[in-house]
Each structure stands twice: as C-alpha cells, then as structure tokens.
Amino acid sequence: MSKGNTIKLALLTILMFVATSCKKYLTLYPQDGVIRQEFWQNKEQVQSAVLGLYASLLADPAGKDRQLAEYMFLWGELRGDNVISGANVATDELNMLQDNILSTNTLAKWSAVYRTINLCNILIDYAPGVIAKDNTFTQAQLNSYLAEALTLRSLLYFYLVRTFRDVPLKLKSTGSDTDVQQLSKTSQADILTQIIKDLNTAEPTATISYGNRASDKGRITKYTVDAVLADVYLWMDNYQDCIDACDKVINSGQFALVPGDSGFFGNLYYSGNSSESIFEFQFDSQILNSFYTAFLQKPRFLASPNVMSSVFNIDFLDDNNYDRRGRFVSVNTNNSQIWKYSGVTGDATARSIDQFYAHWIVYRYADVLLMKAEAMAYLNRGTESLDIINTIRTRAKALPATLEFPSPTDADAVALYVLDERSREFAFEGKRWYDLLRYAKRNNYRNLNELITASISNMPGNLQQSATAKLKDLNSHYLPIPYNEILNDPNLVQNPFYKN
C-alpha cells in the first residue's frame, strides 16, 4: 500500500467514526446534573424540590444578585423613617433614601423574587405527576407540599404588589426558552385575588407541624398561611377576614411572646426559631446573610437618631427604665448601628463575621397580634385593640413617654397607635414602609400626610419640598418596573410616575 493510500484509509476510518457518533454528539446530556425527564420520579425528589424552594430564598445561587432578605430590608425600610445613610452607602441606596428614584435604580429589581416564584411554579406543575409513578406518595403528602409552594408564591407576589403595584402574574413554570412569555402587567387587585384564592386552597391542606422546631419555623405551616392571609386581608382593608385569620394563629396555642427579660435578644433574634416566630429565612453558617457589611463592618445604613429619641424614647433619670426593644436590640446606642442582625446577647458584643446568620423573620406572633389590633380598630373594637397594644408594650417594658391615649372609637387614631407600636416592635425588620403605606392608603389616602412626614423626616433640607411633592403623587409609592425588564419585554408599561 502506498503512502497516499494509507492516509486515505485513515481519513475514511475517522470519517466513519465521526459520522456514526453524530447522533450521540448532538443530543448531549449534562454530566453533572439531572434533567427534568429523569427527575419527578418519586416522593423523595418532590421533597428535595420543596426544600430547594426555601434554600432559594436565602441567596442567589450564582451569587450575582442581592439576597432576597436584603431586598426586603431595603424595600421595607429605606423609604421609611428609621434608617439613615452610613458612610459607605451606595448611590442607588442613597437615592432611594432620598426618594430620588429613577427607573434605572438597581434596587428596583425583582429577579430575586421571580426566581423563587418560578421554582414554586415548577413544583406546582410537576409534583402532581409523581403520584402516578410512586405508589408510596399519598395525595395528602402531595397537597401539603403544594400548599407550601402556593403559600410561598403568594407571599412573594404579595411583596411584589406592595413594592411595584402592578406586576406580571406568571403561574406556569418556565423550564426552557419556549416557555418564556412576554407578559404584560396584571393589576394589583387581580393579583391579590389570585393570592387569596391560592392561600385559601393551601390553608386546609398545609401541615400543622413537621415534628421539629427548626422546620416548623423555617417551612410554611398552616399558621404561616394564616399569617400571610391576615396580612393580605389587612392590606385589602378586609378587616373581619383578617381578624378570623389572626384568630386561627392565636387560638392554636402554638405561639407565645418571648418574655422581655435578659434572654429577649438571644431567644428572639440571635438564636432564632423562638416560640414567637412563625416563619423565618433560616440563614446558617453555610449561607450567611449579607448584613455584615451592610450594618457592621462598613455600615451602609445606620439607625436614625429619632429611633432612640422619639420612637423608643429615653428615660434620662433612670437608666434601668428602658424599652427592651430599643437599646442594644434595635440600635447599638454607642454608635447608632442597626443591631438586630449584629448583636449577640443584647449588649455591645457583636457577632463575628462567620456568625452572621441571624434569621430574617418574616412573621412572628407579635405581628399577628398587632395586625388583629389594627383590624379591630376599624370594626368598632378599639378597646380590644388597645388591650392588645398594651400586651405588646408590657412585654417590652415600653416607656410611659410613648403611651398614646386615642379614643377607642376613633379608628384612625387607634390604628396610628398600632402603627407607632409596630415601628417600635418591628424596627429594621423590613416592615415600616409597608405599614406606613397601608395606613396612608386606607380610605382613599386619608392619612397620606403621615407617610409623607415620616418619609421626609431624615432627608436633607434642600430635598424635602421636592420629596413632599413627589410623595403626593400616589404612583410614586411604588417602585419603577426594572429598566432591563422593560427593555426585554415590550408589553410591560412603566409606572407613569417614572415617565416624567
């Protein structure tokens, strides 16, 4: 055989291999993962998918986005009155503190929320099919898992509608490029209707207990569903339904206020999963929260000076007479740092960097009690409202200086007392702006001034007038649709406030 023929033969052989391996070459399966067709086979896989939902709440797997808890803090606190900028604040954060928000502001970003919503949708779409494949998987178990996904999705949509008002409502999963839809916005009212529907579907089938404390506080239980329902009903000014939902939690006997003694901080905030807690994002030493740099190391945010002097107040004569929620709980009074996520035992001792796994508390018993008090105020049950407020105040040894004496028949005045008490009780827990907005918008924005006064209280003097005028535009209470989403989806229409 000549040299030329040898080469030809070799080439032919290679061609043969290439040609025959063509099929396999084109259908490539991932080598380090499982694809959908191979997943959703048995109940263990469903369970791991459910647990994955909670893991996805903690942090972006790619590590490129802010944590959801951080968004919840930023959205819930920056436009309120308790937080001021620290030396290392970022421009977009400062702009939000000063109500100077453009559609390009990076805090107006919802991907962290929709990521988990999509995971919920995947579970809702595919878990029912597992029943046919795994005989040991019961309908009750499936319903319980679905209840978790439905509730989590509802909770996240509830955050979205309170933050952005009208957002795309996606209830089907996105698994491949062909599933990507260019949705338009659904109105807040329609999304709230969907949320109520989903929560009422979930409530009867949700689990009461998973058998251990950590899961009961870190996963959705029946009581979480009730707490979310109460919050949504209160937002919709549906007072009786709110009270009914609160009563389910209260009458369960599963929850109690953490006593306001020396263990208060440690139990409620440092260790987490307290008897008071209903639902928490459970950070741990594997996934830390992002508050070390935000609040302690080079603080981007500090407590406003008003938090100690007027929200909690100070007894200058008696050092032992102080609101248990203030000094070294909400605020490090040495340096005005936000302390709930940095403290250890309720003194100046701070967590070390590797201990920054304070849980993000979404709902706790005190929240349910105060939601009930707020609803009662509008149903001529003001006296009972005041009793609940007093329960909360007694636990915390609130100072007489922060007492208010509204007439029990004056619904707005009682609700304002609840609002002020919530500011003390949930300082820096990401609730303040939503509380203010809920109070302000009630009865056709009758109490808008309360929101404006609070919102501009920490702004520089040369911005307050502009900010006041902006806040009178009701559209400004909601963040702009993220700039990139508008570019990607021509069906999305920007909130009119951000157009001019």
């Binding site: 453009l102 340096n335 005005s336 520089p460 003097g461 040369n462 900010a467 009119p496």
Partner: protein, 575 residues
Amino acid sequence: MKYSIINKRIGRLAAASLMILFYFSGCKPEQYPITTNPTLNIIQYFDTNPDYSIFDRALIKTGYAGFLGAYGRYTVFAPNNTAMTAYLQTINKSSVDEIDDNALKDFVSFHIVQDTLSTLNFTDGKLPTATMFGLYITTGAAIDGGITSYVINKQAKVIQPNIRTGNGLIHTLDHVLLPPTQTIAQILAANPKYSIFSQALTATGYYDTLNVVPANSSNRPFLTVIAQTDSVFNAAGITSFADLKAKYSTTGNPKNPNDSLFLYVAYRIIPSLQYLGDIVSSPSQTTLAPQENLPVALINSDVILNQVVFNGILEVGVPLDRVLGDVPANNGVIQSVKTNFKYKVRQQAPVYFDVTDQPELRKATSVYKKVGATLPITTGLVSAFSWEAANNYSGPVYTVDGAVGSKQYFVNNDYVLIGLRLGFTTIPSWFETVTPLIVKGTYKVWICYRNGGSGGQGRFTQVSVDGQTLGRIVDFGTTLPSSTSSRTVLESQGYKRYIAEQPAGSTTNIAQLAGVVTITSTDVHRIRFTCIKTSGGSTNNVFLDMIQFIPTSMSQTDKCMSVNGNIVNTPSTFP
C-alpha cells in the same frame, strides 16, 4: 517538464484571479457603519424629533447648534413646539427668525447648562451650575391633578426628563424659561405687597445696592434679600413706613450706618445667591450688617432664621415663607419672612463650652454620663469634631470618670481623650471642634483639662480659633504651678482653677490660658489644637474637658464650674 509545471501554475493562477475578479464585481458594496457610536448628540436628537423643530431652528439661527453637535457635556432644557409657539405668540412673532439675534441668544442660552445634570441633581434650590446666560435656574417638584412633575424656575414643567444623548442630557419642557429682567430693588418696588419694605430700602440707600446688576459691573456679588410683606409689618403693629422709622430709626437718619433702621435692612441682605435649598444647607448666613450672621435651622421642614440657644435660653426664630420666597431677579433672589425680626444686638457673654456636650453623644444613652463608660468616637459620629487622619487611629474617646468626684474633677464628670502628637503616623497631630454661638468681641480662651502625668502628651499645643493662632502654647502635661498661690497670682501666670468641688490642695484639673482672641462675627467658630513639637514620653492622650471664652472685660476667675455642669461662684476656700 519544468516548463509545463510553470505553465500549469500560471493557468491555475489566471483561473483563480478570474474567479476573484468575478466574485468581487458580482458583489454589492457592503454597508459598514462609519461612526464609532450610533448615539445621537443633542442637536441630532432635535433634528430627528419634529416636536422640537422650533427650538432647533432657534439653536441653528444663534449658532449654538455647532457646539451642541460636538463633543462636550451639556444639559438642555428644551421647550417643545407647543411651548415655543405659545411663547412666540406672547411676543407677537410668527417664527424665531423674526427675533433679533442677541435677544434670541439670551433666550436660548438660558436653556443650556454646561454640565450634565439629571433629575437626581435636582433639589429645592438652584442647580449647581449656572446657565450659559449667566443666571442660575431653580428646580422643584409640584403636583397637579394627582401627577407630580419637576418644575424648572417655577415657570415650566418637565414633560420628559433625562433623555440621554452622546454629549449630555435633554429635559423636555412644556413652557419656555425666561430670565428675570428686573433687579431685586425693581421687583420689590413694583410689588405693592412690599411697599413698606421698599420705602425702607430707598430711605436707607440700599435700593441702589440692590439695583446693581452683577453682569454689568464686575466684582459685585449676587445678593439675597429677606423681604417682609406689609401684612407681616401690620401684624407687628407697623402700618406704614413712618411707623417703621419711628420704631427703629435711632438717629433719625436711616442712611447713617449706625442707625438701627440701616442695620435693620442691612441684616436682611445676604451677599451671595441663596435659594431656600441653599439656605437650609448651611448653618448660618453672613449679612451686610457688620459681623452679624443669621443662624439657620430646619424645624419640621420650616426654614427658621435666628433660632439659637444663647446663654441657656432658647430664642425663638422667624420662619421663611416658602410660597413667597425664591423669587429670582437678575441680580439675586428675594426671600420673604413670615414674622418681623430686627437686627439683634447681643451683648458679649462668656461661653462655657463643655466639649462633650454634643447632640450625638447625648443620644448614645448607653454611655452618656454613665459612670466608667468609654466610647471611641469614629469619624462622623460627632459632627462637630474633626482630626487629622491617622492610620488605625480609632478616634478620640468619650470617657466618663468613676464615681462623681472620687478622684478626678470634670464638668459633668466626663471628658474627651484626644490623641495628639507630631510626626506619628498612628496619632493625629491636630483636633478641631465647632464651638457654640459666640458673640463678636474679645475673649480670653481658657483650656480646661486634667494633666495626664509627665508623659509626652500635648506638651506643646498651639490653639487657634478660625485659623487665628493664639498667643500661648498650652502644655497639657502640667499641673497647677502652686496649690497655695492666690488666684490673682495664678491668673497672671496663665492658670486658674475651674472646678468648684476640687479641693484646694489638688492641682490636677486646671484651666490654662491659651491667649486672647478677637471674635469678629457672632457665629459658631472652629477651635483647633495643633501639636507643634513632640517631647518623648509614651502616652499620647490629652484629657480635654472644657473650653471657656470669657470676655476680657469680665473677671476671669469669679466663676467656677460645678461637676454637675452648673456655673457657680468661685468658692471662698480657694486661695
């Protein structure tokens, strides 16, 4: 053989050449972008958007189109065609071509700022950069029919903000902007609301001051005048200029610089351009009244002038009127006040400045005045304090002594521990603090401290007030030279006791004279401690308790401080 190979090669080459030739000739010329960046510049944006055609025409006619099409940083407030048509109607022209070139240049240049200013830069006051016309324009926000928009110069609404182009930003307006054509004096004279105030301006001769346009005469600053309406005068019982003159004119001649009415007006003129947004951003404003300043406070979003705590008494200030204020003139701006106020004559009084009495420290409730507490003051924690940046220096330390009077004697039992050394990278060489309000006059400055032992700390410290160096070098290492010398002798040596409770035999807490200072304006001032020589030793800290400014006309030793912060008579037990 060789020949044929060459022939073959030539043949192939020719074939290839032909192919290439046909290939290229058969191809249509490809369209390549010839610019490096497709973003439009400002003028191109106007050219391609017909809604700006009239303003675009004005830009072209004035020649401004040239630079707006080139590299640079501009912000253009662009009236759309509706706004321009309305404007042309008001001046009875049918097109911009009919407008005189210079007038059109003035008009157009008032809409252009040589800076990129997005709505994020908008405040309640003026923009940081003047327009190309030379005057500033103001920004704000207003709500109309439930919709809030930015408002420029109180004349136009922004319809579309922040249009980004290659060389700057465009904000679309629904009305044109017109520069003010009158001076402050003319505007006030023309407004019947200000008749009494205008007459006062004329009578005192300030009408002429307020009638000069800076553009026409160099070195004249823009001015701000705090005017007062007749109704405010009426509320204060002044119904006419005659009443005003009778009430305030002490010499009968308001043009006399010593006349109270002259000062009354001078006290209301600020020699710089101060919109409300600017006024609230600074703690005090200088005025034309000699050395008298207007302290500013922002209380519940009201801008209050002259509200100060002086000698422990709160003097209630006067609020500015936000609606009537911020009226632009071509030589400044007019503000309006809601209640009558006059030139405030404050008598010189001693200032006992407890350095630790700072609002931020008062709020640090877990340490403030808590026995034995310490708190490192990080940068920015106490806004009044500043010091030289030093590596790893954690800041001065707020410290509270042990049980009251147990061993040391401090006012309010607390002090600041300040690192002060020269030539150390880890210790600052200077420390500065803002004082309370000091009335203009001459004072002796006493530095009250506890001596820190015989170490090297602060042995050679120079004290300066507003950059004015005081005569004596303060030695923070020294004790009272004698426990038995009389106070007169000690004072002549530059020392005194300042704590009433300190036993006569104790010499650790003392006040040392830093020198005499002439305070030229009634205002808050800055006092700085600078280490000018290092003298060995291992400790670096100075125990600073109090700074006293005592008028030279007063006795320097009659009064003492009590440890609880009260001013008391010097005990007779002291020698």
